[in-house]
Each structure stands twice: as structure tokens, then as C-alpha cells.
């Protein structure tokens, strides 16, 4: 429910007392080896981790920022960013709700967020009132009983170095791309999940529970390993727009599924999109990749992207195991001046592998969005199948939707299907609904939700309900 997600966020602010490895230091802006060494030392990391970071840094130095995406933004000055900063001190934050953007508060109200939680979400200096300790404890005990590890990546590096070292960077190597390399060098937090052989994780995992690592920073790193015949459903994000001081976000998520394992990863991304002129929004450059390493393994990505000024994101699957399955279900909504270039890559390597892509793009206002997807079937991946459905819905006449499907098929014994549609919410459709007594806003939301239902049904129930509400709020005032 919404309140749970809100509570999760409220807890994010309440960090002192749980996170002992972050102190109130902030390094000056700029990036060099000494900054990386500082981060590594602050985190109490072993030497191999520092070496790994430095290796990534040296690769990053030789790389250039990708320019192929259909996005328009000014160059980012990486020397102007501070790569390690403690959470804002209460006195630096807004002192009351009066100092917060009224538009943001209005949105919270529409999403039905209780008053005391709105302040915490907006970053107001209040003490969170929730009893986080007991929640964490109960929940950890329950997971420990079945041997599931769920903690911050920093803690995992210290407590479970062998597991981390064995898997970190095996799905997204340090030099994979510009933003992944930067993340590998400077990541400061994120989640680590390990599900042992044969275990089905007894609850859906979300950052909601992972309280002590809740400061999902600018450079978040997540690693999820599912051993043979294990299963997990992981939820990332929150449906309330989150105020954030950092403009650049470059996260990396790696998923590893061994034989017969199943990982379901759901995201609702609603970062601050910027004001009406596109000022101040988050730049979201994320690398997400799942490795279906074992035979018959399955990885499913479901995402609802409504926030950020710029989204650059392609959750992908490497289908290495025979008969492994990859899935990508996506709803991307852009309004105002938002830009999104998002899609997926399905790389078929094992025999009889299959993948499903369902992408729904909704563009309103003066926004621009692109679906970019690659389906690659290697010569030995015979008997493989892909089904791609890629639909765009336009609202108004100042927005744009583009589709860039790429297919590289290396054998003749595989089946690839691609369906694409572009439609517009027509004045006639709106008039028809209104002539039935349905308001224009409800009509838009009804049509949009109908358009997205194939994806929403893949979301865990509670998320799906929130996602619908979120869409209505995002598209408010987009017509007329």
C-alpha cells in the first residue's frame, strides 16, 4: 500500500543510529584516485575492492559519454560532483513544509500520503516517528531462518566478501559502458541479496525493509544472486515523487540466476522530473542486467517509469542457460519536458531460450520518448523464440514517440515476432467518454490504464494499484 512505501521513505531519512560507516564528512567536488580511496576506506573495504574500483576508474577515464541515445542534455561536468557526502544535516534541509514546492505537496495529497509522512518525503528536517528497529529485527530473523541474505552492498562486502567477489561485475563488467564504469569506481550504496539453493524467499524483498542502507545514493549498486532452484521477487522504488539534491544518478543492478532459479525484479521509478521548463530534474542513467546463467532459469523485469528529467535505461537479459527465459514489461510515461530513451536487450545464447518484451510508451506535453530494443540470437541458440510488442500512445500534438528495434538473428531455427503500434488519445474517444458522464481526467486515466494493463498485471498487486494512481497524477492536465 501507499502508506508502506511512504513509511519506507520516511525511514530513509532516519539514518543516524543505524549506519555507522557513514559519518558527516563530505569530500570536495571532483574525482581522482584519492577520492576513490577515501570512499573505500570510509566503507571499511578490503584491498581487492579498492583495486576493483580503481580498475574501473582507469577504464572510465578512457571512455566517452554515449551520444547515440535520442536525448538532449548539456554535458555533465563530472569534476563538479561530490562523490561522497553524508546525508544532509537537519539545519541544511527545509525547516517546514512552507519551504517546499507547493506542487510537490499537492501531488502527495493526491496520492493520499498522510500529513506527517509528506514532510519526511519532501526532505523536511523532522525526526521520523516510526519504530524502525523492531521492523528490521523481525524481518531479518524471518529471512535468516531460511538462509536468505539481504543487506546493504557495503555490509555484504565486509561480511560476505567471497560471495560478492565471486559475482560482482560478472554481469555488468566494470568497463561495460561509461556510466557503469563510473558507478563501479564510486558506488556508495545499494542492496545485496543471496537466496540459497532450493529456497523460495518467504516475502517480497524491497528497500522498504532494508532500513540501515536506505540512503540509496547517486551511485547505487545492487547485486542479487539466486542459487539453484531458488526464487525471489524484489521491489525497487516508491510511487511518491522524491525530492533529491543529486542531479545525476548512475546505478548498476546485476542479477544472477543459476539453474532453475527465478528472479522477478519490479521497479516504480518516480524521481523528480524537473519543473515545467524542465529545470532541476534528475538525470537517470542506469545499467540493469540479468544473467540467466543456469539452464531453465528465468529473469523478469517489470518497470513503470514516470519520473526523472532524463531516463537512459535498458534492463536486459543474457540467456546463457538452455531453455532459460527473459522477460521485460515496461510502462514509460513522459510529460512536460521529460525525455526517456529506454528499452531492453535480450541476448539468446543457450538453446531453446525464449524472451518476451512488452513495452508501452506514453508521451504527453512536450516530452519525447524512444523505445530502443535489441534481440540477438547467437548461431548456437537454436530453437529460440522472441515475442516483442511495442506500443506508443500519444497525448496531444507536441510530444514525440520513437521506436528503434534492432534484431540480429544468427540461426534459421528460431522464431522472432515483432508487433508495434502507435496511437493517439483522440478527441472523439474523450468526447465519447464524457458523453457518458465520465470526466476528461478520468477518461484519460481509463484509456491510459487500459493501454498499460498488460504490464500492470505483471506487477505485484499492491504496486499495480499504486502505479495506476501514479499514472493519473503524472498525466494530470496533459489534455486540453
Amino acid at each position: 500500500m501507499a502508506t508502506e512505501a511512504m513509511e519506507q521513505l520516511a525511514r530513509r531519512e532516519y539514518k543516524q543510529g543505524f549506519v555507522t560507516d557513514i559519518e558527516s564528512d563530505t569530500v570536495p567536488p571532483g574525482l581522482d584516485e584519492s577520492v576513490i580511496a577515501f570512499i573505500s576506506q570510509k566503507k571499511g573495504e578490503p584491498q581487492w575492492m579498492l583495486d576493483w574500483r580503481l580498475e574501473a576508474y582507469h577504464q572510465w577515464l578512457k571512455m566517452t559519454s554515449p551520444s547515440w541515445a535520442h536525448l538532449d542534455y548539456p554535458p555533465i561536468d563530472y569534476q563538479a560532483i561530490s562523490y561522497f557526502s553524508a546525508p544532509k544535516k537537519p539545519e541544511d534541509r527545509p525547516q517546514s513544509l512552507d519551504e517546499v514546492d507547493p506542487k510537490l505537496l499537492e501531488t502527495y495529497e493526491k496520492l493520499g500520503i498522510p500529513l506527517h509522512e509528506r514532510a519526511a518525503l519532501a526532505g523536511v528536517a523532522v525526526d521520523a516517528v516510526f519504530d524502525s528497529v523492531s521492523v528490521t529485527t523481525t524481518f531479518r530473523e524471518k529471512l535468516a531462518e531460511v538462509g536468505v541474505i539481504f543487506c546493504s552492498i557495503s555490509e555484504a562486502i565486509r561480511e560476505y566478501p567471497e560471495l560478492v567477489r565471486q559475482h560482482l561485475g560478472t554481469v555488468v563488467p566494470q568497463g561495460d559502458n561509461y556510466f557503469a564504469a563510473l558507478n563501479s569506481a564510486v558506488f556508495t550504496d545499494g542492496s545485496f541479496v543471496y537466496i540459497p539453493e532450493g529456497v523460495t524467499c518467504p516475502m517480497e524483498l524491497s528497500t522498504y525493509f532494508r532500513i540501515n542502507a536506505a540512503n540509496t545514493g547517486q551511485f547505487e549498486r545492487t547485486l542479487i544472486v539466486c542459487d539453484k532452484r531458488a526464487q525471489v521477487s524484489y521491489l525497487e522504488g516508491c510511487t511518491a515523487p522524491q525530492r533529491d539534491e543529486n542531479q545525476l544518478h548512475a546505478a548498476v543492478v546485476e542479477l544472477v540466476a543459476l539453474e532453475d532459479a527465478y528472479i522477478k525484479y519490479s521497479t516504480v521509478q518516480n524521481w523528480y522530473p524537473g519543473d515545467e521548463d524542465g529545470k532541476g530534474g534528475i538525470y537517470n542513467f542506469v545499467t540493469k542486467r540479468g544473467d540467466c546463467r543456469g539452464d531453465r532459469s528465468r529473469i523478469s523485469w517489470t518497470q513503470v517509469e514516470t519520473g526523472s528529467a532524463i531516463t537512459w535505461k535498458y534492463p536486459s537479459c543474457l540467456l546463457r542457460g538452455n531453455e532459460s527465459k527473459g522477460e521485460f514489461y515496461s510502462v514509460a510515461v513522459t510529460n512536460g519536458r521529460q525525455q526517456a530513451d529506454t528499452g531492453t536487450k535480450m541476448i539468446h545464447i543457450g538453446k531453446n531460450t525464449s524472451s518476451t518484451i512488452v513495452s508501452k510508451g506514453i508521451a504527453a506535453g512536450k516530452s519525447n520518448q524512444s523505445y530502443r530494443g535489441l534481440v540477438k540470437v547467437s548461431p548456437r541458440a537454436t530453437g529460440s523464440r522472441n515475442f516483442t510488442q511495442c506500443d506508443s500512445l500519444l497525448i496531444g500534438d507536441k510530444c514525440g514517440a520513437h521506436t528503434f528495434p534492432y534484431q540480429e538473428i544468427g540461426n534459421s531455427r528460431s522464431t522472432i515476432e515483432h508487433e508495434a503500434t502507435t496511437s493517439k488519445i483522440g478527441d472523439d474517444q474523450l468526447f465519447y467518454c464524457k458523453s457518458r458522464g465520465i470526466s476528461e481526467e478520468d477518461a484519460v486515466s481509463m484509456i491510459v490504464n487500459g493501454f498499460c494493463k498488460d504490464v500492470f498485471q505483471e506487477l505485484p498487486m499492491e504496486f499495480a494499484v499504486e502505479a495506476e494512481a501514479l499514472l493519473s497524477v503524472t498525466l494530470e492536465g496533459s489534455v486540453g
Binding site: Q429, C433, K434, S435, S439, K453
Partner: protein, 250 residues
């Protein structure tokens, strides 16, 4: 219930309606007939509130309220419902969802809570059976891939669920075979009662064989040229519209 006085309306600057006066009382069924281009569709569009039609003169009062001051959805919520000649397709939105949203919007406008799901399902099942429609209709997208006859049945189904005070039927008979026509007519007739009125716009007399009007009006060149009882329709069927045009307006 509906009072139209000296209504003039233009489309893209051309005057189409040139002074229509019409009074419909509760319990009455009126039919407006006329040749192509007489202004029948424009009259429906103005009543429903479609964009692009400008009322330049005259008044329309619905249930004592100025209709021109009401938004499209407010008209529907107040009980003026239009059955379209060409209902639009809405991919992805299930029929049942549209029905439910429409019914609850109407209830909300009257200060009522949403109808509980079991009650709603009971109501829908009853109405859909009456319209001889298969329940699979409910789970198909609104009008998507419907035949002409299915679309018209669906329009009437919505009326049966929403129970309008004034049902406005725009060429509801077009594209219907005789069996579908009977079902549609039965649906419309079931709406008839002393508190409700029906205004049909039609080109042909055959609809009126199934739904008997109390009054028939002949619309020619944006004006009502002649009014009479149902026998006027029969006369029009036999003699065409020419004689009305030639006859001086009453």
C-alpha cells in the same frame, strides 16, 4: 423536459440550424426526420455538446437548466444521454469498465456512493440478457472490432444501465438488419415511461414501425418545416420530402 427556442447554430461559420423551436415533455417520444443536410446531425451534436458547433442565437433548457452552460459530462450526469450513429472504438478499455465508470460518475454527481460490485454485476447481467448480447461483450474493448449492429446494441445497453431522463438517438437504425433492429427497438421501448422522454433522429421511417413516436417533426434547411403525429412519418415514406418543401411552412 427539453425546451429548444429559436435555436441557431453554425459550423465553421456556416449557419446550419436557422431557428428551431421544439418542446419535449416527460413521457413523450419525438422523431426528427428530414433529408440529408437538413441539420439533423448538427442538432444532435449541439445537444450532446460536441466541439466545433457554435450556438449563435436561441436557448436550450433541460430540466429547467440552461443546457449551454453545462459541460458534456454534466449533461450526461443530469440524464441527457446520446446514442451515437458511429460510436468510437477505445482499444484497451473493457466495456464493463466503461459502464462501471459511467454509472459511478452519474451516482457521484447525485451524491451516491459507488454501486457495490455484486449489485452492479446483477444489473449488467440482466441488461445484457435483455439486449440478447453475449456476456463476452463485457470483456471486449469498447466497440473495438464490433459489427455495426453490435455497436448499436452496445449504445442501447449503456442507456439501459444509465437510465437517462432524455435519450437522444442519432440514426440508431443505420446499418441494422431486421433482427438487430427489433432488439434495439425493444431496448428503446423498455425505456419508455411517464418520466422519461426519447428524441430520435432518423432518415427512414422504418425505425418508427418499431418505436412509435408521439410526434414527428420534419427538419428541412435548418428549420422544422412540419410537425404531426406518427401518420406524418407514413406520409413521408409514401411521398418523400419534396411535398413538404413545396408546402408553405405552417
Amino acid at each position: 423536459m427539453l425546451e429548444i427556442k429559436d435555436l441557431h447554430a453554425t459550423v465553421e461559420g456556416n449557419e446550419i440550424l436557422k431557428g428551431i423551436t421544439l418542446s419535449i415533455k416527460p413521457g413523450e417520444v419525438h422523431a426528427i426526420m428530414g433529408p440529408n443536410g437538413a441539420g439533423k446531425s448538427t442538432l444532435s451534436a449541439v445537444l450532446a455538446g460536441r466541439d466545433g458547433y457554435e450556438v449563435t442565437q436561441g436557448t436550450i433548457t433541460f430540466d429547467g437548466k440552461d443546457l449551454m452552460e453545462m459541460e458534456v459530462e454534466e449533461r450526461a450526469q443530469a440524464g441527457l444521454l446520446m446514442g451515437f450513429q458511429y460510436p468510437v472504438e477505445i482499444p484497451g478499455v473493457k466495456n464493463i469498465y466503461l459502464l462501471k465508470s459511467a454509472l459511478n460518475a452519474q451516482r457521484a454527481a447525485h451524491g451516491l456512493d459507488e454501486m457495490p460490485a455484486p449489485e452492479f454485476m446483477k444489473l449488467i447481467k440482466e441488461k445484457i440478457a435483455f439486449m440478447k448480447m453475449d456476456s463476452s461483450f463485457l470483456h471486449r474493448a469498447v466497440n473495438e472490432g464490433f459489427s455495426g449492429g453490435e455497436k448499436k446494441r452496445n449504445e442501447i445497453l449503456q442507456m439501459l444501465v444509465l437510465q437517462p431522463k432524455l435519450a437522444l438517438l442519432d440514426e440508431i437504425d443505420s446499418g441494422l438488419d431486421i433482427d438487430a433492429m427489433k432488439v434495439v427497438a425493444e431496448g428503446v421501448n423498455s425505456l419508455r415511461d411517464e418520466n422519461r422522454a426519447i428524441l430520435m433522429v432518423t432518415h427512414y421511417q422504418r425505425l418508427l414501425d418499431h418505436i412509435t413516436p408521439d410526434q414527428v417533426h420534419v427538419l428541412i434547411d435548418g428549420r422544422i418545416a412540419k410537425s404531426g403525429d406518427r401518420h406524418l412519418a407514413e406520409e413521408l415514406e409514401a411521398r418523400g420530402y419534396e411535398w413538404v418543401i413545396e408546402e408553405p411552412a405552417a
